[in-house]
Symmetry: C2
Subunit: 189 residues, 2 copies
């Protein structure tokens, strides 16, 4: 997606530890027209796939999922990191190791919101080791539903997430794949 590549080169930068910072437009400040373009691009790429629900995980996937859902005409569910007194007892759960936050989260989705008929499109901002996406796939499987695909805004192609998903036969669409951040230079695939 050229618009996104151009924006990453213009406003993104690299931090120590292979961290690509895109917080001025993607995951802290949010450029809404860019989100709309991202949503339209996901719809184009998954136009041949039936989607009944979009699933993401808090926090930075939520906005992208909501605006993408406008293109698909479906509801969004966001998986919650377990910490709230307010969650239901009837939940699908999985554990997700977060590299960014250096901890393991228990993640949950109420069983009420995914059923066996659903075709679930999983949306997230980043794919690196693939832990979040694999956890969400596990939750969709627990519900007996079908994973329609995984849509990622920025895939770190030098980490193993992409291979892990495609090895499972998952349809993966990454709008941009970054192949290297070495020497603070952003190289796209």
């Amino acid at each position: 997606m050229q618009l996104l590549k151009d924006r990453i080169l213009k406003d993104g930068y690299v931090r120590a530890g292979n961290i690509l910072k895109v917080d001025s437009f993607l995951n802290h400040q949010i450029d809404i027209p860019l989100y709309e373009a991202i949503g339209n691009e996901f719809k184009k790429r998954f136009s041949d796939v039936e989607v009944t629900k979009i699933l993401t995980i808090e926090s930075s996937g939520i906005g992208i999922a909501c605006i993408t859902a406008q293109s698909f005409g479906v509801n969004v569910i966001f998986a919650k990191k377990a910490k709230s007194k307010n969650l239901d007892s009837d939940v699908y759960t999985c554990k997700i190791d977060s590299f960014t936050h250096d901890k393991t989260y228990d993640v949950m989705v109420s069983t009420k919101f995914i059923n066996a008929d659903d075709k679930v499109l999983i949306i997230d901002d980043f794919l690196a080791k693939g832990k979040a996406a694999l956890g969400l796939i596990d939750i969709v499987n627990q519900a007996g539903a079908k994973v329609a695909g995984v849509g990622i805004v920025i895939e770190k192609g030098f980490q193993e997430g992409g291979v892990a998903l495609t090895n499972q036969g998952i349809r993966l669409e990454s709008l941009v794949v970054v192949d290297s951040l070495e020497n603070s230079i952003i190289k796209f695939r």
Copy 2:
């Protein structure tokens, strides 16, 4: 907002501890057309106010803020609960006591994203004791910017948040005010 009252009565329910559960349409599963109606309603209520940025706090405010931002034609910033290795060092911070999660969060917004010229509309799903809204107001003040107003989807009118905000001279628009949840009966103002 009658559409929202009707939906709360239809799909919301009350849990022990004065918790109003609206997770089937507002803050776990998300009904996108309802979010669009909410965004349009905020735009209508704040039509006389200049807004240059929308500020919310992760997680459940993000989707509402993004879709509301479409009506205002502005960017969104979401304040982050401090836990990430990826946050900048130049940040506005405040502490927010969360009743729901029974802990105190350090919350931060990068100084890059709010400047003294901004007129900031604060958006969130719930207002109860007002801790999150007051923290976000503090952050806007630290930036030397102006609070254009606070837009809340559901205000718990039996808690002190609404009074705390209006006592500070803040323009508050709550789409629905719940005055009581006693005996599991939802009473609107």
